[in-house]
Amino acid sequence: MNKVLMSGNNIIGEAAIRAGCRFYAGYPITPQNELTEYMAEHLRTVEGGVFLQSESEIAAIHMITGASATGARVMTSSSSPGISLKQEGISSMAACELPGIIVNIMRGGPGLGNIRPAQGDYFQATRGGGHGDYRTIVFGPATCQELADLTMDAFDLADKYRTPVMILADGMMGQMMEPVIFKKPKPRQYNEKFMLRGAGHGKSKIIRGLILDPIDMEEHNWKLARKYQVIIDHETLHEEYKTEDAKLVIVAYGTSARIAKGAIKRLRDKGMKVGLFRPITLWPFPELKLRKLAEKINNFLVFEMSTGQMLEDVRLALQGYADIGFHGRPGGVVPTPAELANVVARHYEKKD
């Protein structure tokens, strides 16, 4: 297949449609509007495709929940403030065990914040976000190619575990264009018994998250927890870059990880042995892999476009066995590799 030059937002849309997404509902918000527009333009040309511009982000998440219940592959997207509104529905999808993809093209926050790229929604994404004991699988892609690949994988995982999956990117990833090659999607595997299509002549089905008996509700919670444990055991993804000989490792994801790689090139040119640990799944967080790295390296620096959220996961993973520094640029600032390189160099020399 040919390489094409597309923006991140459009890539997500194209990958979703190729993966069999046939229902999308969304509400415009910058910087993800191109994705909504892409789905409006292209879903109508595929058989069975439905695009709905909803009256709100809340309505959108419930529209895709309904469509998902019928057995369709579904997606919605928004940016930070809109994702806050969707949390009610995400919690409900997790409770009802309905698959679906939620794309968050993050912008500055809290509140309305601004429309520049930021990473302040890490907590919201990785801790469930809505109420109740649940998790969502969260991908943190760092290249347009990864956006294409992970969007397709997200649909497979959502079906496999019957759970909502979030793609957590930022305004930079959404707006940026890079060449991509779309891989061939896998054939869908999703049992018809989970689809609500009318009872026919059989027994009627109920999909619900309201379980009034606390003992039954407890069991439902443990059932979800066991499922999440299986996901932790099997679906964790990460990338290590130049860690073999590293004396300091930067931990960063998404756009931050790109900047970190730029910084690492500069530092290596000056003879400093710096590497990168990049979680690709933000939940489940690749904590065992990171801990393993701490067996030989004890100098880490977390870099995020936030005031320090993934930092907490890194602390939990390393459990005090390594030094952890932090550099953050919240609020929509995208630092340069040169700036980060200076910060890293200071940490490097302090320990050296």
């Binding site: 910058t30 707006q175 060449p179 340069t336």
Partner: protein, 179 residues
């Protein structure tokens, strides 16, 4: 090799098209490439810019804090970007409407009266393609035939007369600058 370029000008001058066509041709040449538009609340007109990084290795940050090339199609863009350009870099400017010149002495300037040239050709809208002719020749990152092929792909179904005009405009810009 890692080269970053900012294309900037009025909305409507086709600066995003310049960046996109350049990125597209660099991709076809086999380079790693990123294209980053500036984005904001929707306003018609105003200024627009985009940043293109071209490299023979993985591109990390698509942002250009010190671009190697800046293409300015109007005066406000010159003021905005003249201090960002890297030492020894080149500024391409549309000398038909940009009357001021950067005060810096450590950068090269390539002035192309692309607006006047376009008007002579009978269509002001090809000023950007004329500038691209000059840009492609001067930078030498992408061969002219690869660039023209990309323009053909991007324009796709457009009329033959438009394609011919683009070809003519590109050649005019290409021949305007000396090696």
């Amino acid at each position: 090799m890692m080269l970053k370029t900012i294309f900037s000008g009025f909305g409507g001058q086709g600066v995003l098209m310049m960046g996109y066509s350049f990125a597209h041709s660099a991709m076809n040449k086999g380079y790693h490439v990123t294209y980053l538009p500036s984005y904001g609340a929707e306003v018609r007109g105003g200024t627009a810019n985009c940043t293109i990084a071209v490299a023979d290795e993985e591109i990390t940050s698509p942002v250009a804090s010190e671009p190697d090339y800046v293409v300015v199609m109007n005066s406000p863009s010159l003021i905005t970007f003249q201090n960002k350009i890297t030492c020894g870099g080149t500024m391409f400017l549309n000398s038909s409407i940009v009357e001021i010149r950067p005060s810096r002495k450590d950068i090269k300037i390539c002035a192309v009266p692309c607006g006047d040239m376009a008007r002579e050709m009978g269509n002001i809208r090809v000023a950007n393609i004329i500038m691209m002719g000059a840009f492609i020749k001067k930078t030498g990152i992408v061969p002219s035939d690869v660039y023209l092929k990309s323009i053909g792909t991007i324009m796709g179904g457009k009329k033959k007369s438009v394609a011919e005009l683009n070809q003519k405009a590109f050649t005019a810009g290409y021949d305007f600058v000396k090696d």
